[in-house]
């Protein structure tokens, strides 16, 4: 089953990357490495790579970093009373469909009647074009994703912290460890595996990024918010170039596999 549904398509995708073919045509032409040459020499390539890495780094800082801090706070004595309420508040955005969120943020970012510019106008502050600004568009999309998915990582980390035996925490308390020391020396090391999972999910998600961009800017203005996942889709279904789409697929696969292996090696997962 795994072989049929996972590995064979990956192998086929690799084979197709050496052909020029379209979805509606029966014929295909072997073009060797020409698709790879076109992919790596395309002016969009560095833009996509930059955008995907930006998304990855910011997501690691905000979703994993900030999300973990929020999880620690939720598991601390500070939030005892309203723990469940906070947990639901943070997790709620992750339940909304990405397309709906994209549409909602399109209205929030709208330059003339949108929420953000309307607020800025009230305080007589300069307004921006947001999604229409080549320099800001990708950051606007990244911000939207952080709003949506930080709560998801928070929830995963809360589960990990709850699995830590209270004996360790109590022992540390008796030894005089404060909340920061307890978090750094007890909770985080014991939740290391879960943290790694969160990092891998975030990194892989960053390179598979598609719906958020499709639902807001479709890669624009110009190509300023173009990303690898959307490029793959557009090559396949807009330009009828399944070979180029396969190249993008191979590249995304390679980059996520390499980054995942690096992370596992660095953190030494599974050794304990």
């Amino acid at each position: 089953m795994v072989l049929v549904f996972v590995y064979i398509p990956v192998i086929f995708n690799f084979v197709y990357s050496f052909f020029r073919l379209s979805s509606y045509s029966a014929g295909k032409t072997f073009v060797g490495f020409d698709n790879y040459r076109r992919f790596f020499s395309d002016d969009i390539f560095p833009i996509m790579l930059k955008n995907n890495f930006l998304y990855c780094i910011i997501s690691l800082i905000v979703q994993v970093g900030f999300g973990t801090i929020v999880a620690l706070l939720l598991e601390s004595k500070l939030a005892v009373k309203f723990k469940n309420v906070y947990r639901n508040i943070y997790y709620l955005p992750a339940l909304i469909s990405i397309t709906a969120v994209g549409l909602m943020f399109t209205f929030i970012y709208e330059p003339n009647m949108g929420f953000i510019n309307s607020v800025l106008k009230v305080f007589d502050l300069p307004t921006r074009s947001w999604l229409g600004d080549s320099k800001l568009a990708i950051y606007c999309i990244i911000a939207m994703s952080q709003w949506q998915f930080t709560g998801y990582i928070t929830l995963l980390m809360v589960v990990a912290f709850q699995n830590i035996s209270t004996d360790y925490i109590e022992a540390a308390e008796i030894d005089g460890a404060g909340p920061i020391r307890r978090a750094l020396n007890i909770q985080l090391p014991l939740a290391k595996e879960q943290l790694l999972v969160c990092i891998i999910i975030t990194v892989i998600g960053a390179f598979k990024l598609y719906t958020e961009v499709y639902a807001t800017t479709s890669g624009g203005p110009g190509n300023s918010s173009q990303v690898l996942g959307l490029y793959l889709y557009q090559q396949a279904f807009l330009h009828d170039d399944l070979g180029m789409a396969a190249v993008a697929g191979v590249f995304i696969f390679a980059i996520t596999v390499v980054l995942s292996i690096i992370q596992i090696k660095i953190t030494g997962s599974g050794k304990d």
Partner: protein
């Protein structure tokens, strides 16, 4: 010891999973019967085998019909007509699917190549359909028109010409006529003592006066960059000679080196200071709403947008004028931007005669007359405006009838990679990130690449 247990457990789990999954596959294969009635009611696709069976036994003929108008009231009108045809032809049954504009463009390319191709489907004029013609996926309607001169005479020749290839193959029949015109707010023009501009300089003058009066001169949203392509398409027609433009628009010979292309972009740049602020952040339909709500003086609109404007503001008084003349430009000032949109028949259909017979009725005078009265869209049949009282619709219709030539939509006329570069580069130009010369340098590069890509990977 512990490791060995773990390994055994893993082997058991894997073996169990595989056995279960194989059982699952077997169950599906050996399923004694499939509930086909469920498929029919849920609107799912009928298998090819079923279609073949129906074709040979003379039972009900299922025609798969795909269109791109899921919005109301257009969807209800189309589906209503299809059901009406079913009622009068008991042997015909339609399976209808639809998708919105962009989604449709992507979906149709996938289904056309597969085994479950729609028999009749919507398709745009230009390279959008030529790509299917190059693969022999579209039925040649020429013999049907030759066999039925009455049908041919009942349709407007200038519009049918758009669905005819250079070598004379008729590949589609228009469903709705369209063109691009400047719509202007009659009240705003009257209050500011403005006249309809006839030249580009006069247009700039009108824009200046509106801007001075604190009114947005031209409403525009380019968040979906096809919107700007309508300006560029028009300006290319005006600034580039016909023969050069026609050669460049063909994917096999496109070069885009004529200086008129840069001039066209420069004229577009001249309009930008008078358009909605930050147009790249504004959706095209928001641009239309701004105009419909009386917050802008003009809006470069499609004729088919009249019903939308009337729906948004039924009391609005507006007039229309063609894109003004650019004195001294090298191209063709007479071309009206916009071509009809219509339906084509798949060459893979089991029922070509039935499909053509249906199109004769669906895209003919009888339905066309109801169509313009009910949803405000004209088809290409002659004499459909009888009884129509809406003056704005009649004015628009007359502009098309009087037009000497029509120009294809830029985003459907060009090869997909070239048009994509055009749209993204013009989007950058709109933001002021790039110069017109640099835009054209990018397009020239893509046009050269397109020459090698076109046809590669095809069966031809």
């Amino acid at each position: 010891m512990k490791k060995s247990y773990l390994r055994r457990a893993l082997v058991f789990i894997l073996a169990g999973t595989m056995a279960l999954s194989l059982m699952g596959c077997g169950g599906e294969k050996e399923s004694p019967s499939r509930d086909t009635s469920k498929e029919a009611t849920s609107g799912e696709k009928t298998s090819n085998e079923e279609t073949k069976k129906e074709a040979t036994t003379g039972e009900q003929k299922v025609i798969k019909f795909m269109h791109r108008f899921p919005d109301e009231p257009y969807n209800s009108f189309i589906e209503g007509k299809l059901h009406e045809y079913e009622a009068s032809h008991p042997d015909i049954k339609f399976k209808i699917t639809s998708a919105q504009n962009q989604e449709y463009k992507e979906k149709i390319k996938v289904v056309v190549g597969g085994e479950d191709t729609p028999d009749i489907f919507f398709s745009w004029v230009g390279d959008f359909t030529y790509r299917f013609i190059r693969e022999n996926l579209i039925l040649d309607l020429t013999p049907y028109f030759e066999a039925d001169p009455e049908w041919k005479d009942s349709l407007i020749e200038s519009q049918m010409k758009q669905y005819t290839t250079e070598d004379g193959m008729i590949y589609g029949v228009p469903f709705r006529l369209d063109c691009k015109l400047f719509f202007y707010n009659a009240d705003i023009f009257e209050q500011n003592d403005l006249k309809v501009p006839t030249t580009f300089d006069e247009l700039i003058d009108v824009c200046e006066k509106l801007k001075a009066a604190g009114i947005t001169p031209i409403s525009f949203g380019n968040m979906e960059p096809w919107s700007a392509s309508h300006y560029i398409g028009t300006l290319n027609q005006i600034c580039v000679p016909d023969d050069v433009r026609e050669k460049d628009y063909k994917p096999t010979s496109g070069e885009f080196t004529h200086p008129g292309y840069v001039e066209a972009l420069e004229y577009y740049q001249k309009l930008l200071p008078y358009m909605t602020e930050n147009p790249n952040g504004v959706k095209p339909d928001m641009g239309r709403t701004t105009f419909a709500m009386g917050n802008a003086g003009m809006y470069y609109a499609e004729l088919i947008e009249i019903p939308y404007i009337k729906m948004e503001n039924p009391d609005m008084k507006f007039g229309m004028f063609k894109f003004p003349e650019i004195v001294g430009a090298e191209g063709n000032q007479d071309i009206l931007t916009g071509v009809p949109e219509g339906f084509v028949v798949s060459s893979k259909t089991k029922y070509p005669d039935e499909c053509v017979e249906f199109l004769k009725w669906f895209l003919g005078k009888e339905v066309g007359t109801e169509q313009c009265q009910e949803i405000g869209w004209f088809n290409a049949a002659k004499g459909t405006t009888e009884g129509l009282t809406d003056q704005a619709l009649l004015d628009g219709y007359n502009v098309i009838m009087e037009s000497k030539a029509m120009g294809a939509w830029l985003d459907n006329a060009l090869y997909s990679t070239v048009v994509d570069e055009y749209l993204t580069a013009v989007s950058d130009l709109t933001n002021g990130d790039i110069t017109p010369k640099k835009v054209m340098a990018r397009i020239q590069k893509k046009a050269v690449e397109a020459q090698t890509l076109v046809g590669a990977g095809s069966t031809k």
